[in-house]
């Protein structure tokens, strides 16, 4: 009765030269960064000139890829067994720096300095929840435009929800183009006389804003908005250009999830959203799945056997026998626990596949240890591609 999912063929995606961007998305803590790095490495070792754009890698994984500092430029990764001209570059996103660079590129030096010094800019560029997503998009656009790589693998920022990556740039764009921003920019641009024609709500609003924020804050906000106004007229347009880039067939979205209810719920939302936005979804990577090489022995039987052994564990038994039994009992308990976990994960995965039967799925076994070197990434890469075979 169980829906058998289509298998995701990672190598076919990697080997298809028309694939130019792979976006790895999913909720936090599901192994997006590792998946992105593994895919980048495999692509490089299959002849692609790949660049991995990562946001927040584990320290040792970053070190293994030669990413010791956040310098916002792709660095060549050593130790790649590249063939056919393949290569791997990797970079960590520095969102504030990316934002600063946009400002510097689009405003004259005086105005740029003014913007960079504004407290609102500093707050927005270093902590706005959507800035990281926007800057990841911006950087992706830049890397793609540079034409130095034929495949860019993006690891999306860690956020509460996988959807933030799609929404945040537009939210930021909408915000900067928003009605309120316009209202705030008015007094500085055209003087107070223009305000009279605005709706009556405005007076109440500024009154209340002053009450909540104080005059100084309001003034700073107005200065900031005015300074940005000229250069960011096209802010939303930029966000939309990158957004459209993601809708082209050269892009492959991979949704990453762990077999946990929250992660799979997010994955479901994301899949539906991608579909609604006509974004090309390549498949789901289900990470950290617990399988057993001894699946023929059920959890119930294994547990019963362990109990049998533990009851035979008499104090007067020879020491070697006791030792032998305790190891066997432990092995059986470990197996029972794994089968139990496996059963639960299967059920969760089936929830997903019955709701989305056409989406290709690749499963990656839980690794007994963390992945923190190229060899570990290679193992993940080969597990991902075995699925297509």
């Amino acid at each position: 009765m169980t829906a058998k999912p289509v298998r995701l063929d990672m190598d076919r995606i990697i080997d298809d030269r028309r694939t130019r961007i792979i976006v790895c998305c999913g909720s936090g803590g599901v192994g997006k960064t590792t998946a992105a790095a593994a895919i980048g490495l495999r692509a490089a070792e299959r002849g692609r000139q790949a660049c991995v754009l990562t946001v927040d890698p584990a320290r040792r994984l970053a070190q293994s890829m030669g990413l010791t500092s956040l310098d916002n430029t792709p660095r060549r990764v050593d130790g790649v067994q590249a063939v056919n001209g393949g290569s791997l570059h990797a970079m960590m996103l520095d969102m504030k720096r990316t934002f600063d660079e946009i400002v510097e590129a689009h405003a004259d030096p005086d105005r740029a300095a003014q913007i960079l010094a504004n407290p609102f800019y500093q707050s927005l560029s270093s902590s706005f929840a959507g800035t990281q997503e926007y800057m990841a998009m911006e950087k992706l656009g830049q890397l793609r435009h540079a034409e130095e790589w034929d495949l860019i693998v993006v690891d999306t920022p860690p956020s509460r929800s996988a959807l933030d990556f799609l929404d945040a740039p537009q939210r930021l764009g909408r915000f900067l183009d928003g009605r309120l921003i316009r209202l705030l920019a008015v007094p500085a641009k055209t003087g107070m006389s223009a305000m009279r024609v605005l709706n009556a709500g405005f007076a109440i609003m500024t009154g209340a804003l002053t009450k909540i924020l104080g005059t100084q804050v309001l003034k700073d906000a107005q200065t900031f908005v005015t300074a940005l106004d000229t250069m960011f007229g096209g802010f939303r347009e930029r966000a939309e250009t990158t957004y459209r880039l993601l809708q082209t067939p050269g892009t492959a979205f991979l949704v990453i999830a762990a077999p946990e209810p929250d992660a799979l719920r997010e994955a479901s939302y994301f899949v539906e959203r991608l579909d609604a936005e006509r974004m090309p979804l390549a498949g789901l990577i289900l990470n950290r799945v617990h399988t057993s090489p001894a699946g023929r022995l059920s959890a119930a039987r294994s547990l019963a056997a362990a109990e049998t052994l533990e009851m035979q564990d008499r104090p007067d038994a020879p020491a070697t026998e006791g030792q032998r039994y305790s190891i066997a009992a432990a092995a059986l308990r470990i197996h029972a626990e794994r089968m139990q976990l496996n059963k639960r994960e299967r059920r969760l995965a089936e929830h997903f596949t019955s709701a989305h039967p056409t989406i290709p799925v690749a499963e990656v076994d839980a690794q007994p240890e963390d992945v923190h070197d190229l060899a570990g990434l290679r193992v993940i890469g080969s597990i991902l591609s075995k699925q297509g075979a």
């Binding site: 706005f128 609003m205 104080g214 946990e260 032998r324 432990a330 092995a331 059986l332």
Partner: protein, 341 residues
């Protein structure tokens, strides 16, 4: 026995943070259950709009309103505990609340929402929305039944806070806001909030699993908290979640990890339990035993690393069937037994 000694006596606001995927919400909920002994009232606050608490307690989505979601964990063998209330705080609701409470401006607040002011305020200055959200938590912590000096409404407040990477900024409200507002009402409000957060009444607990990245983030988070706030915000306990207990003695584990256990010996053991070694079953089980041993070794390394932080720590087991209400009470009991509540 009138009072129990816990590690956090005197703490009334428990802030629970952790990396995504470590079970921060689950642990916060278990802590709330554990704190709610008979006759006590505990408030569990959610700030990220995920409705994770409602899912855990199997109730409809929480509104911006305090409502009872569970009965606390009773003392061992002595009936039921106190009351656990829950509240989902969002910046918009918190702003309306703030306007009403301090300026009696609820209607204006609604007009502001329509104009997109709330969106504006929380977008352009995340510090502002943090102040509003933490402000609600501190208000609930300070709230009293009646006049000054009367009993607190809640004996404890547990906040399911933003993840480790963002927690210091989130809590360091007065610094966040002072960059934006040197004076003014929001500044005054931020200072009041900061006084509660920086008092010994507040502790920040870190939830982690025994894996490399969550452990690293926990240590980084603790260091950042110290660095940003100069020890003004009290670091609480490290709560290790989803730990897999070792099922074998250390010597056998070491042997299993290095692959030096004898498969035929295992097969003999299996046979004694009535399971025959066909199709290499013993070898397959040996592989699983080895994985287990490697995982235990990794856990031990990560645990040791965590302990370098010098904070009290608690350890919660992995529940293979997933977390349901019974599982939550089980975790609450474990937390209480270990002295966390």
């Amino acid at each position: 026995m009138t009072t129990r000694d816990t590690d956090w006596d005197g703490v009334r606001l428990h802030v629970v943070t952790g990396k995504g995927g470590t079970g921060k919400t689950t642990v916060a909920a278990a802590l709330a259950l554990a704190l709610a002994t008979a006759g006590r009232k505990v408030l569990l606050i959610e700030v990220e709009g995920r409705q994770g608490i409602a899912r855990l307690f199997d109730c409809p989505p929480l509104p911006y309103q305090e409502r009872k979601v569970a009965i606390g964990l009773g003392a061992e063998g002595a009936g039921q505990g106190g009351d656990v209330y829950a509240l989902a705080v969002d910046p918009e609701g918190a702003l309306l609340d703030y306007l009403e409470m301090f300026y009696n401006l609820r209607r204006t607040g609604k007009a502001l929402t329509r104009l997109g002011v709330v969106d504006f305020a929380t977008t352009i200055a995340p510090g502002l929305s943090d102040v509003l959200v933490t402000g609600k938590a501190t208000e609930a912590t300070r709230r009293r039944e009646g006049s000054r000096g009367s009993a607190h409404v809640y004996n404890a407040v547990v906040m399911d806070a933003p993840p480790t990477g963002r927690i210091s900024r989130f809590l360091d409200v007065s610094t966040e806001v002072s960059g934006l507002a040197k004076v003014g009402p929001i500044r005054t409000h931020a200072d009041t909030v900061a006084r509660v957060i920086r008092s010994p009444q507040t502790a920040v607990h870190f939830v982690t699993t025994l894996e490399e990245m969550p452990v690293q983030e926990t240590l980084d988070g603790l260091a950042e908290l110290r660095e940003l706030t100069g020890d003004a915000i009290r670091a609480g306990g490290i709560i290790i979640n989803m730990a897999r207990p070792a099922l074998l003695d250390p010597a056998s584990l070491a042997a299993a990890a290095s692959g030096s256990l004898d498969v035929t010996e295992l097969a003999v053991g299996l046979k004694a339990a009535g399971i025959s070694d066909n199709h290499g079953l013993a070898a397959d089980l040996m592989t699983e035993l080895r994985d287990h041993a490697l995982q235990v070794a990794l856990q031990d390394r990560e645990r040791e690393e965590l302990l370098t932080a010098g904070q009290p720590h608690y350890e919660l087991p992995m529940i293979p069937d997933g977390i349901d209400l019974a599982g939550l009470y089980q975790l609450a009991a474990t937390l209480r037994k270990q002295g966390a509540a």
